[in-house]
């Protein structure tokens, strides 16, 4: 079987934490399809992990497992650094519920690749044609949306990058995960392929925005149904 391992693309992840209630969120957009199936990992009240760039499918679950075992974000990265022989190709971001941040961008990651660590915010990207300016756009969009729900802010952060990069960031898939301790219903949405092809103006991120808008009013309904299917 011939598999093209050189397939290159564009990828951006935004991880955030709300220190007030321990909410963790992660939003991703990618030129690859079905990114939500491979890269984002969140355990409520523990950590959010982004594993991308020649993704090792087992890194995310292992990182969450090690956080669960009490390792710090730095110790988890160190464990992975020592024992994943291909870590040079990978990007890994960890944001724990208590605010620790660990990030790794391997030297072999595709194109321009890097990460930025902020207060309760972590960005990771590869294949970004505008490099650091992309992160600037993400941080600005995130900051200017202060006061909105985390899910909305994460989407706006990705949209800030898309507005800057335009056609240089074709988004075939996108994912949005937000988990709050104690919440009955969580945001867990993904678009695996745009509703129309990219060259016909399709965008996985625009589809995710539409999905979020449709889903948001239902969050409380699903939470209420979970507790009791009908009034009593």
């Amino acid at each position: 079987m011939n598999i093209d391992l050189t397939h290159k693309g564009t990828m951006l992840s935004v991880l955030a934490r709300d220190p007030a209630d321990g909410t963790l969120g992660i939003a991703l957009a990618s030129s690859s399809i079905a990114i939500g199936a491979r890269c984002p990992h969140v355990e409520t009240g523990r950590a959010a992990v982004a594993s991308q760039g020649f993704t090792n499918l087992k890194v995310g679950p292992l990182a969450l497992d090690l956080v669960r075992c009490g390792l710090t974000a730095a110790e988890v990265l160190e464990a992975l650094r020592q024992h994943d022989r291909w870590l040079d190709y990978r990007q890994i971001g960890i944001l724990t519920a208590d605010g620790q941040i660990g990030a790794h961008t391997g030297a072999q990651a595709t194109g321009w690749a890097g990460h930025r660590v902020g207060q309760d915010l972590l960005l990771l990207g590869n294949g970004l044609s505008r490099g650091e300016a992309t992160f600037d756009a993400v941080v600005t969009a995130h900051r200017e949306s202060g006061g909105l729900p985390m899910a909305d802010r994460l989407l706006r952060a990705l949209e800030g990058a898309k507005a800057l990069l335009g056609d240089a960031f074709p988004i075939n898939s996108a994912s949005l995960l937000v988990r709050s301790p104690g919440a009955e219903s969580q945001i867990d949405l993904r678009v695996d392929l745009p509703s129309s092809p990219i060259d016909e103006g399709g965008s996985g991120l625009a589809d995710l925005r539409r999905l979020y808008a449709e889903y948001l009013p239902l969050v409380d309904i699903y939470a209420a149904r979970s507790v009791a299917p009908r009034p009593f």
Binding site: L62, G70, A79, A113, G114, R116
Partner: protein, 166 residues
């Protein structure tokens, strides 16, 4: 804000010098508890491995092999408790490690948990109730409860051994 890599020209990969094994193979359960132990040993600072080697009468190389995820060698069950004691793990670290160890080697649970190394002792301070008879009854009750719990866990561990039916 802090920044990571951010470059267009990739540097030379270090994978050619990376360890020649795959982390996520069938031995992952063993590597997992070794990753945890290795991290906990690092927290203790340098010299932890040397102390273990000296106290157990092994070479430092042997200790490295049984405590490093890079080697397949499992930690012998009869040395687990001694290593944990020498490594001065916290109670929480010890619990996490033992859970991982037993998950990797369920057949060794009885040996690990029942090993009479002389340090499996729990001390509980009893209050001054101002009533000698009541204090005696309380002590007797705690003793019975503790002995019952120990019997239960030892039996559970014994049943987990291969060839034992539940």
């Amino acid at each position: 804000m802090s920044f990571g890599r951010g470059m267009t020209k990739p540097k030379k990969t270090t994978s050619s010098t990376a360890r020649a094994f795959e982390l996520f193979d069938d031995l992952m359960p063993i590597r997992r508890y070794k990753i945890l132990l290795q991290t906990f040993l690092k927290r203790r600072g340098t010299g932890a491995r040397q102390a273990i080697a000296e106290q157990l009468g092994h070479t430092r190389s042997f200790v490295t092999q049984i405590t490093s995820p890079a080697y397949d060698l499992a930690i012998p069950a009869n040395q687990v408790r001694a290593i944990l004691k020498l490594a001065e793990l916290t109670a929480e670290e010890e619990r996490i490690f033992l859970d991982a160890y037993i998950e990797a080697h369920p057949e060794r649970a009885a040996e690990v948990y029942a090993a009479p190394h002389g340090h499996g002792t729990v001390t509980i301070s009893l209050p001054d109730l101002g009533d000698l008879a009541a204090e005696a009854r309380l002590e007797a009750l705690i003793r019975r409860l503790a002995e019952s719990a120990i019997d239960s866990f030892v039996e559970e561990a014994r049943l987990r051994q291969p060839g034992r039916a539940a």
